[in-house]
């Protein structure tokens, strides 16, 4: 198997569109896509055209779950799919080159309701073009291939392109080759101001300052852009921004998550994550420490702190539960987090039965489960409010010494932290019938799914061995999944759009060779994340303009071909941090205990029962703690911060590698009325007033802070009119200006009359509400 992915796929626009189809069938497909889908490719490819159909419509009864197989036919493997069927063993589902004799073709085309596949009661059906694809595939010889993501990536050849002058590095060859195959041209380069804005948000989650923009614009050295990349990658803001995504993956929270949802201290681990990103710890080391830091030879305290990753799951304190039931959930959560975060597989689907779509058995699931089953823990927090074992106490001496990355802002004498510990004698794990804690059947031992990669005997059968297995050169998933997430951070969508599912039901890579090229590069160059991010942002592909045309939208609505940059709404954290940055309110403090900024009154109090301890009531912080980056906002799982949730933050109940990006009326309400944003607007306005003397100068400053560019004449006219209207409004009712300017805790001296000041504050608020202000294009 030389090259896992044949380059001839590139000619099919349909590949990428298929990927979209396979992701979801909830949608009413747009006409554009459905027209394209109905084109039958000349050469049918098993992985790209056939398997998505088989998996999605047939595997439920003819798939990897042996106990669910109907009619003795499984289409999950080549051996099973070509087996002789019937009493006389004389029928075949698939006979290569003989579509008319293949039972599969007969059964999907028949109009006989008793015979038709899928059967009507399954609520599944095949579209006409899908039937034709299956038929044509058999006519062409029914070539079978392994699932693409389970074949180890190999360094792919750089494709030839016509317009070589456009490319800035190898990455661009892959992208341009596909564009050229589709008779498309890449977009023009984005304007420098927009580029720096994009880069700053993507790498640090923060906007560029006006000074930074000016420096960049004035720098005519050939590596001016690269200098900016290096500057941003070296900043603490980079580490904080990267950590946000890791907290989603690690389901980090400041509370235990079930029922009374008591407080937990987990933030020293969060500080470690920021620290690790700051010093660009290689990904393999970063993950190994978190998975198995305690099992490394002579582990350091820092390595043990890293293992808190595996204790971030929810823990119950509810009276009357059966502890073992919940302990089983915690182990399952660790196993699920492992498979989602590092393998991009939905292992949890194999907890109750063999996986319906992927070659993962229930036994595989519980073998993986058993790696995480040996923690000396209790399923229930007892007594009420206790710190769940096992945990360590970080002493002041340690924090001043080897753990100097822990920001002990509240100067606690010692800080408890739940970490991993391995029992001297492992707990015996079993396959649990239907996944239930009280129905153990066959005993199982730590092992990994052979369909991914067999567990080499040289590895210890514990979490350390699991980490070794994960980073083995032969592991087909680890590097692809990781590099796909880095791509997702920069383009909004991964090369595999289902960054949480690389299995049969997941999306197919839009640029398979590129994904493999990047995966191998990432691994071979030492799992160096900053280097990989730098490599990608230096590409011409990344530096394209986001402008689009109706024609291009029609051809490629999801931007899978990358003939433009994506225009993306900022995340929940970025939006708030943006407002804090441009107003100058943002605290530069890194790490420390989580903080409680503005939140509507009463939210915690109205949902608690009798308990809740320190989290029964939201005690809003004061001073600089109101202005810390959003990564530090206190996360109570059962009542997460509402403004963040409105902008699609995750609940942190489970490992999440990809957030939604929605647009809703509630978002408009937050941006217009959240005191955090209004306060930032009035401070921003005052700063602009100080900086300029004319209204045009002042409006320009505000506008530039919010959008990273100067307003056009047209825009300036609109905003000047608006300022005049608001001055008139507040002059007619000066008390309203007083009220508006008093919102938020931050006190400043206003240097102009309040009605005029309030009008500027309204202008700032309006500007911050622009779609452009909360987007990076």
């Amino acid at each position: 198997m030389k090259s896992p992915i044949n380059s001839s796929y590139l000619i099919f626009l349909i590949c990428s569109l298929f990927a979209c189809q396979s992701e979801v069938d909830n949608q009413k497909t747009t006409s554009t896509i459905s027209i394209k889908q109905q084109q039958i490719p000349d050469k049918i490819d098993f992985n790209f055209h056939v398997k998505p159909i088989l998996s999605d419509r047939c595997f439920k009864c003819h798939g990897p779950d042996k106990n669910a197989v109907e009619g003795d036919l499984s289409l999950a493997t080549k051996e099973d799919a070509f087996i002789a069927l019937g009493k006389d063993k004389n029928r075949y589902a698939i006979i290569p080159h003989q579509a008319d004799s293949s039972a599969l073709v007969h059964r999907i085309f028949t109009e006989n309701a008793d015979d038709i596949m899928p059967p009507p009661e399954s609520n599944l059906k095949l579209e006409k073009h899908e039937k034709e694809i299956l038929k044509k595939w058999i006519e062409q010889g029914a070539e079978w291939k392994e699932h693409w993501s389970l074949i180890p990536p190999e360094k792919t050849a750089i494709p030839a392109i016509q317009n070589e002058s456009w490319a800035k590095n190898e990455l661009d060859y892959f992208v341009l080759a596909k564009l050229e195959a589709n008779q498309l041209r890449p977009n023009q380069m984005v304007k420098p101001t927009k580029l720096l804005r994009r880069l700053s948000f993507d790498l640090t989650g923060l906007p560029p300052t006006i000074e930074e923009l000016n420096i960049f614009l004035a720098d005519d050295s050939p590596n001016a852009y690269e200098k900016q990349v290096d500057r941003l990658l070296a900043s603490p803001a980079y580490a904080e921004h990267r950590a946000v995504q890791w907290l989603d993956i690690a389901r980090y929270a400041d509370s235990h998550g079930y029922q009374d949802d008591l407080e937990r201290i987990a933030w020293p681990w969060r500080d470690w994550v920021i620290h690790a990103y700051q010093k660009n710890m290689p990904y393999n080391q970063f993950v190994t420490w978190q998975l198995a830091g305690d099992l490394l030879p002579n582990p350091t305290l820092e390595q043990i702190v890293a293992t808190a990753f595996n204790r971030n799951h929810k823990i119950t304190q509810e009276g009357g539960v059966i502890p073992e039931e919940y302990r089983t959930e915690y182990v399952a959560d660790r196993a699920q987090t492992f498979s989602t975060a590092f393998l991009g597989l939905t292992m949890e689907c194999a907890r109750c039965h063999d996986h319906k779509y992927d070659p993962l058995s229930q036994k595989n699931y519980f073998q993986l489960f058993s790696f995480f089953n040996n923690v000396p823990e209790n399923g229930q927090i007892q007594p009420y409010g206790a710190i769940p074992k096992p945990f360590i106490k970080l002493t002041k001496k340690e924090i001043d010494g080897v753990l100097s990355f822990v920001n002990n802002l509240d100067t606690m004498a010692e800080i408890p932290l739940m970490v991993m510990e391995e029992m001297a004698k492992p707990r015996q794990a079993h396959i649990l019938n239907r996944g239930a804690y009280d129905q153990p059947t066959e005993a199982v031992f730590p092992n990994t799914p052979e369909a991914v990669l067999a567990f080499d005997k040289k590895y210890p059968t514990n979490r350390k061995g699991l980490a070794d297995w994960l980073f083995a050169k032969e592991n087909p998933l680890t590097a692809r999944v990781a590099v796909n997430r880095l791509w997702q951070q920069l383009f909004g969508v991964g090369i595999v759009s289902s960054s949480d599912d690389f299995g049969n039901q997941g999306a197919l890579p839009t640029h398979p060779e590129l994904l493999d090229f990047l995966a191998v590069k990432f691994r071979e160059e030492g799992w160096n994340e900053k280097a990989m991010l730098k490599y990608i942002v230096l590409s011409a592909t990344y530096q394209q303009s986001a402008k689009t045309t109706p024609e291009l939208l029609e051809i490629d609505p999801e931007n899978q071909l990358l003939a433009r940059a994506s225009r993306l709404r900022l995340s929940a954290e970025m939006i708030r941090d943006h407002a804090l940055t441009i107003s100058g309110l943002l605290s530069k403090e890194v790490g420390g205990p989580s903080v409680k900024p503005y939140q509507p009154d009463g939210l915690w109090a109205e949902t608690i029962g009798g308990g809740g301890g320190s989290l029964a009531k939201y005690n809003q912080d004061e001073g600089y703690k109101l202005y810390r980056r959003s990564i530090y906002t206190f996360w109570k799982r059962t009542v997460p911060p509402p403004s963040m949730m409105t902008f699609d933050a995750t609940t942190r109940d489970l490992c999440t590698v990809k957030r939604q990006r929605t647009s809703t009326p509630l978002q408009a309400l937050v941006l217009m009325n959240d005191p955090q944003i209004i306060e930032a607007s009035r401070i921003l306005a005052q700063n602009a007033v100080t900086k300029g003397t004319t209204s045009a100068e002042r409006i320009t400053t505000i506008f530039q802070w919010a959008t990273s560019r100067k307003p056009t004449t047209d825009e300036m006219e609109t905003l000047t009119d608006y300022l005049a209207e608001e001055i008139q409004y507040f002059q007619a009712a000066p008390e309203k200006a007083d009220e508006y300017l008093a919102i938020g805790a931050y006190q400043i001296e206003y240097t102009i009359e309040k009605p005029e000041m309030a009008a500027y504050a309204m202008v700032a608020s309006a500007i911050f509400n622009l779609d452009e202000s909360i987007s990076r294009g």
């Binding site: 009357g320 939905t346 949902t607 029962g609 109940d653 009326p665 309400l669 825009e715």
Partner: protein, 494 residues
């Protein structure tokens, strides 16, 4: 009236504005600027506009003729005692204090709160029961108002669930899964059926605290969460007080006209960006601001009960004048239903009577009895009961034996998932029936069991939805409210 005219002139201005600017705007952008809902239909299950106002859900054509158009779910959080309300078991009084026979318990799971008890003394209710209505339903004296609507109610005495603790049990009822992460019933309904109005969320939530046991069970915002569905489908909490929806109220110093001015400028500036970048997300954003603006008017209007006549307050009871009470929330539920909100979820806390049950349940019944009945009758007198499904019930029931000491007039009851009672009314449910039966100990179901998934399937069926066809594909798997279970209880459908 003046406001309406102003709003219309705004629309006209927008229309002129668009007529003047020529290039690059599709009809989508036009409709959004005109203030109609413009949601892209896409894989996230976003709503699409309908001609008659509101937005369409993912279901193109309902699978069945719908009996109900909307649901008001009166969730009684904590687990009300069926044995003191609807499931009359005189045997428990006759054999009061005797140990629960093993032949009945059959070694079934108990919670950790009573599994260690040396014995399980049978505890009959201290509250008398009488028969009401044409079905002769037994209802306890705790519910004098509810008993009067017996002929409207379908009492299900044979509910059962899989979970025995609060968090998993309430999560199971609301999302079909004991573990967090799935969409709530209301979110599923919004996703499937869309919304009937342009000014209010399709799924709203109202909370109240019980007086029987004020320090009861907590609630979690995930109970009304959208899970993996688009966030437009999340339940929006309506609260008493000055900001009925979070962040709804304009800040101090800003009035409606001033907000309108800002939105006009925003729309105009955003539109320039749309022309330059052609990103349809920008037109969606403009539409969302218009919807937000309308909500700012329509939510306070619907929450303002000042114009309700006295006889309505009288009907719902004295609490109904106190914002934030269950009774006030019932009245609001009716107003939300009238204004096109299709899933209205109330949570009343405090039913978790492990001890002092006779005292605690009195308070809970006082909180809820009159207003629940009034809501049903109020809907009826407005002709809305026929297409409004009202559901009353908790996450599980309570044991027939006393938790802790049984004394002459005091006892507690532990959680009991094996049998409990809920009731439904209106919305195509057979009125005036009692469905299902438990054994004479009130412990096990002996007739017509209804599982939580059956209940969910039946609710969807009443709305015209086949629970096996309302699916959302997430991480490669097709999810349903009913997971892979659920049978419609046809016997209770009219």
């Amino acid at each position: 009236m003046e406001k309406i005219i102003k709003d219309r002139s705004y629309l006209l201005n927008r229309r002129n504005f668009l007529a003047k600017s020529s290039v690059g705007i599709g009809t989508a952008a036009l409709s959004s600027l005109l203030g109609m809902n413009m949601f892209n239909s896409s894989k996230n299950g976003i709503l699409t506009p309908t001609n008659g106002g509101g937005t369409k859900g993912i279901i193109e054509n309902l699978h069945f003729a719908p009996k109900a158009k909307r649901v008001i779910y009166l969730f009684q959080s904590g687990g009300p005692s069926q044995l003191d309300l609807f499931d009359y078991k005189p045997l428990l009084n006759e054999r009061r204090g005797e140990d629960l026979p093993e032949s009945i318990r059959k070694g079934q799971r108990l919670t950790g709160m009573t599994s260690g008890q040396a014995n399980f003394p049978l505890a009959g209710s201290v509250f008398p029961f009488q028969q009401y209505g044409q079905s002769g339903a037994w209802i306890s004296d705790l519910l004098p108002y509810t008993s009067k609507i017996a002929d409207e109610m379908c009492i299900i005495k044979s509910m059962h669930t899989e979970a025995i603790n609060h968090d998993p049990a309430i999560t199971f009822f609301q999302t079909g899964s004991q573990q967090p992460g799935r969409p709530s019933m209301g979110a599923w309904m919004s996703y499937g059926l869309g919304s009937s109005n342009d000014n209010l969320p399709s799924f709203t939530v109202l909370l109240s605290r019980g007086t029987g046991r004020p320090a009861g069970q907590p609630l979690y915002s995930r109970l009304w969460g959208n899970g993996f569905l688009h966030s437009l489908h999340q339940g929006v909490q309506f609260r008493s007080g000055k900001d009925p929806v979070l962040y709804l109220k304009d800040p101090a110093g800003i009035d409606r006209a001033s907000r309108r001015r800002m939105l006009d400028k925003l729309a105009s500036l955003n539109h320039k960006q749309l022309e330059e970048f052609g990103d349809p997300e920008i037109s969606s954003r403009i539409a969302q601001y218009e919807m937000a603006y309308r909500m700012q008017t329509s939510v306070p209007e619907v929450m303002n009960v000042d114009n309700e006549p006295d006889h309505i307050y009288k009907m719902y009871g004295p609490d109904s004048t106190q914002p934030g009470t269950y009774a006030a929330n019932c009245l609001l539920a009716r107003r939300l239903a009238e204004n096109g909100v299709n899933f209205i979820q109330l949570y009343h806390m405090g039913w978790d009577s492990h001890d002092n049950l006779p005292t605690q349940i009195k308070g809970q019944a006082m909180d809820t009895d009159q207003a629940s009945a009034a809501l049903v009758m109020d809907l009826k007198q407005r002709g809305m009961l026929d297409d409004t499904l009202v559901i009353w019930g908790g996450e599980f029931g309570r044991t027939n034996y006393s938790q802790g000491a049984l004394t002459a007039n005091n006892y507690g009851r532990d959680h009991h998932p094996r049998s409990f009672s809920i009731w439904m009314a209106g919305g195509g449910v057979k009125p005036g029936i009692v469905y299902g039966e438990t054994d004479e100990f009130g412990y096990n179901i002996v007739e017509n069991p209804v599982h939580v998934h059956d209940f969910q399937a039946t609710t969807l069926r009443l709305l015209g939805v086949d629970h096996e066809k309302l699916i959302y594909k997430y991480q490669g798997r097709r999810y349903r409210l009913t997971d892979v279970h659920g049978k419609v209880v046809n016997d209770i459908i009219a």
